[in-house]
Amino acid sequence: MQSRGGGRARPAEGNGFEVFSWYFFRVSGLLLIFFAILHVVIMHVVNTVDEIDYAFVADRWNSPFWKVFDFLLLTLALLHGINGARVSIEDYVRSDGWRIVAMTTLWVTAFVFMVIGAMAIVTFDPAAFEAAHAGR
């Protein structure tokens, strides 16, 4: 199928991963309009970086709602972005050797940042620091 002049052409049926990636791009993109822009508006328009510190984040992550919100934002944004970088590598990195280097770097980066991002949200426990502080 030819490109219709907007983004990439939808890959041919039968190319399972590419078709999935094409749809994922569009669905995650629509969801990110909500998640990413709301995040920016809360953090930079309603508040500013001057209000944001450890206490601000601790207060926010007290609520399971914002933990889930941030986890979904992390997952969708990282996978959407990594998929974009993957398509860019497919387009611009031509030699087999550099492709292997680029793709390996890409997926290692995706894995590492998904893990540390998820750890930051899931294991966050301000009570542990308060207890340690009180114990001193």
Binding site: R4, G5, G6, G7, R10, R26, G29, L30, L32, I33, A36, I37, V40, V41, H44, V45, T48, V49, D50, I52, D53, Y54, A55, V57, A58, L74, A77, L78, G81, I82, G84, A85, S88, T109, F113, I116, G117, M119, A120, T123, F124, F129
Partner: protein
């Protein structure tokens, strides 16, 4: 004579979509790394915040928001073109409409973001 491909609005929108997308991804990776530090406790996290308060980083944040808004607006244009035949015929108008929406949303956001500076 050398023939140069000139795709006009379609080509510019494509190139900007790539550029803004990769820019936002780069910021996202930095942002995941800085939020990871929160697990080390208040002193460690707050000691890094001077980076976010610096003038250079504030301006980069405004550029990040510009990239994000453009990417979101042009992303909607791409999806419309993909799934609606009528949009194919007006893709150029959709591009200019998107640029108008971009400035209408970005300018107030930038003014509000930089309010601690004035």
């Amino acid at each position: 004579m050398q023939r140069v491909y000139r795709g006009r609005e379609g080509m510019i929108s494509w190139a900007l979509h790539r550029l803004t997308g990769l820019g936002v991804l780069l910021f996202l990776l930095i942002h995941i790394a800085d939020i990871y530090v929160i697990g080390y406790g208040p002193e460690e996290f707050d000691s890094l915040l001077f980076i976010y308060h610096s003038l250079g980083f504030r301006l980069m944040e405004v550029m990040l928001v510009a990239a994000l808004y453009y990417h979101a607006i042009n992303g909607v244009r791409i999806i419309l073109i993909d799934f609606w035949d009528g949009a194919v015929l007006i893709q150029r108008q959709l591009w200019y409409g998107g640029i108008i929406v971009f400035f209408l949303t970005f300018i107030p956001t930038a003014i509000l973001m930089l309010r601690p500076l004035y």
